[in-house]
């Protein structure tokens, strides 16, 4: 099956990204927020012929507070827990109207994607609904004031995983949502990061030009919830990749490719930049380092098992 519409070539780069803003200035995200970086770029790539859907999340609120809105394209919200099926419904309705060329994209937070919105997401993926789903991962429920999500990493302080004398932040590990989505055998699953713009642009454009269910999870630091300097959003995202705390890979038609080989720099540097990890003991840092090594080892095996030459 040819999932690429009209064989469009992938060509957008930072240099050729359109100047026009379909997600305008004046939105009310905190200064230095990572998610508007994702959305501004995504909207430039997706273009005007796009309908957007949002669950409850920071982006829903800072992107539009009725009657004001930063999006110049249709912008819909129904509930927190059903983004993927709402987007799929929009796609079906447009198809019925003969508007088959419209991009339908759901933008959602990590909580809305991996926890509360997961059954709808999994169902839509299994049915191979023709939508693009972009999860911006800021590793907690930020909109409601920094509660832990399944995507919050081990050791991180949040208001529901406090750091005190008895507990030192979250005691469980980050859910590997990208691999769970890969297990759905959909046409395209990829991770990206605001710290690696060329890779992120390429993946959004590729996903745009495919048909069927496409899932992107983009690492988008939240200086407010991560308790860090607003100027370090991009720097910390780069460090996450370099230390193996976040992996950049993609699965296209069952073939997995590692896009950036992690340098496996010690996790200390990454952790030290963020107030949410300030309380960590050496013991906890060791646990996180161990997690990063193990994750890297598993990722490499996974990439190897689903490489091009393993495909019959």
């Amino acid at each position: 099956m040819d999932r690429h519409q009209g064989g469009e070539t992938i060509a957008i780069t930072i240099k050729t990204l359109p100047k026009e803003e379909l997600f305008t200035s004046g939105h009310t995200a905190c200064g230095g927020c990572g998610s508007p970086i994702v959305v501004r770029a995504a909207m430039k790539i997706l273009g005007e012929n796009t309908v957007t859907y949002f669950p409850a999340c920071c982006l829903l609120v800072f992107g539009g507070t009725y009657p004001h809105n930063a999006f110049k394209v249709p912008y819909l919200h129904v509930l927190f827990e059903n983004s993927a099926v709402c987007a799929a419904g929009i796609k079906h309705a447009l198809n019925k109207q003969g508007k088959e060329d419209v991009n339908v994209v759901a933008f959602a937070g990590d909580g809305g994607t991996g926890d509360i919105g997961f059954q709808a997401l999994s169902g839509a993926a299994e049915r191979n609904e023709d939508i693009l789903y972009i999860c911006y991962d800021n590793e907690a429920y930020m909109n409601t004031g920094i509660q832990r999500s399944g995507s919050t990493p081990f050791g991180a302080w949040t208001t529901t995983t406090p750091a005190g004398t008895k507990i030192g932040g979250k005691e469980l590990f980050k859910k590997d949502l990208p691999k769970i989505m890969m297990a759905h055998n959909v046409p395209y699953v990829a991770t990206a990061s605001v710290g690696h713009p060329a890779d992120m642009i390429r993946k959004i454009e590729k996903a745009k030009n495919m048909k069927g269910f496409r899932y992107l999870q983009i690492f988008a630091p939240c200086p407010t919830g991560w308790r860090m300097d607003t100027s370090k959003t991009v720097e910390v995202a780069k460090k996450a990749v370099n230390s193996g705390m976040w992996t950049l890979f993609e699965m296209e038609d069952g073939v997995v490719t590692l896009n950036v080989k992690p340098k496996m720099e010690p996790v200390d540097d990454y952790l030290k930049m963020q107030g949410r990890f300030r309380h960590l003991t050496d013991e906890q840092i060791k646990i996180i380092q161990g997690w990063a090594y193990k994750k890297n080892e598993m990722d490499l095996k996974f990439v190897e098992a689903f490489s091009e030459d393993k495909k019959e």
Binding site: A29, P74, T230
Partner: protein
């Protein structure tokens, strides 16, 4: 009973200031409550918090509409929000400002105290967070709580949240601000721009509640209308751009979360324009520029 309304920006810690004041008043044997105003706004956007203090138990749970005191953590708010709205004539305004009380313009002429809390905070904390320093000014200007109780209040509330070491620094900020607070009277009669609210009737709402871009008494509404929302006043630091060092790599333009950097001109004449009316001063552009062509300055 006295009632205090704090005006700040998300992230400036107005709520912690309100709580620390309540704790300070409590140390002196009063009853006190502190609570925030819940809004949808983010770090940098105008927010409010409240403190009520009385000799007796407090049963009132409402927001404070007619405060005895207003405390303003950022004087740029005075032009955006009617901070003196409802302030009693006998009341007082305590404002973070480098200006003298006589140069402050509010809706009404009232007793006024000013302190350059931002400078105090930068000197004592290394960060422009003014919620502790302003409490020193409150103690000095009103005499309602002693500076020692304010210090205790800060150690209690800040200590719980950010640890004893940082709380001590904040207590020092309050003490430093106490020493440099000026008291006088401000000017009245200032009207800040207040846009009318657009409240459409059912017949004016397009089908399905979606809005089209349209001009209303409130200004532009609908898709893309956030361009009317000038977020530039949120910043403490502003990017200063040196075109001679710039190689037009577009990285800052790409990364700016607020789309505040625009590319203008063609060919060799290409350059960048910084739109300070939107820039929130996050500093990402300066941090990421490979040629050090952007510096953040206050």
């Amino acid at each position: 009973m006295y009632e205090v309304r704090f005006h700040g920006r998300g992230g400036q810690g107005a709520v912690m200031a309100a709580q620390a004041l309540a704790s300070a008043a409590f140390q002196e044997g009063n009853y006190a409550v502190a609570f925030p105003y819940f809004g949808a706004e983010r770090r940098g956007a105008p927010v409010m918090a409240f403190t009520r203090v009385d000799k007796d138990k407090i049963f009132s749970k409402t927001l404070i509409y007619e405060p005895d005191y207003i405390v303003v953590l950022d004087d740029k708010l005075c032009g955006l929000v009617d901070v003196s709205d409802g302030l009693k004539d006998s009341g007082m305004a305590i404002i973070n400002s480098a200006e003298k009380p006589e140069d402050i313009k509010l809706g009404k002429a009232v007793k006024c105290a000013t302190v350059d809390a931002t400078t105090v905070a930068l000197e004592t904390l290394g960060q422009p967070i003014t919620n502790s320093a302003i409490l020193g000014a409150f103690a000095k200007a009103t005499g309602l709580v002693s500076i020692d109780s304010v210090v205790e209040g800060i150690m209690d509330i800040f200590g719980n949240r950010i640890g004893e070491r940082l709380a001590t620094k904040n207590a020092n900020a309050a003490k430093a601000a106490y020493e440099v607070t000026q008291v006088g009277t401000c000017q009245g009669g200032f009207e800040c721009e207040k846009a009318d609210k657009w409240l459409p009737g059912y017949d004016e709402l397009p089908l399905g509640l979606a809005t089209r871009p349209m001009e209303t008494p409130e200004g532009l509404v609908g898709p893309g209308s956030f361009v009317d929302n000038k977020t530039g006043s949120w910043k403490t630091f502003a990017p200063i751009y040196d075109p001679d060092k710039c190689i037009m790599c577009r990285m800052c333009w790409f990364y700016c979360p607020d789309g505040a950097i625009k590319e203008v001109g063609e060919g060799d004449a290409k350059t960048l324009e910084f739109h300070h009316e939107y820039c929130k001063g996050c500093g990402i552009c300066a941090n990421e520029c490979p040629k050090d062509a952007i510096k953040m300055e206050r």
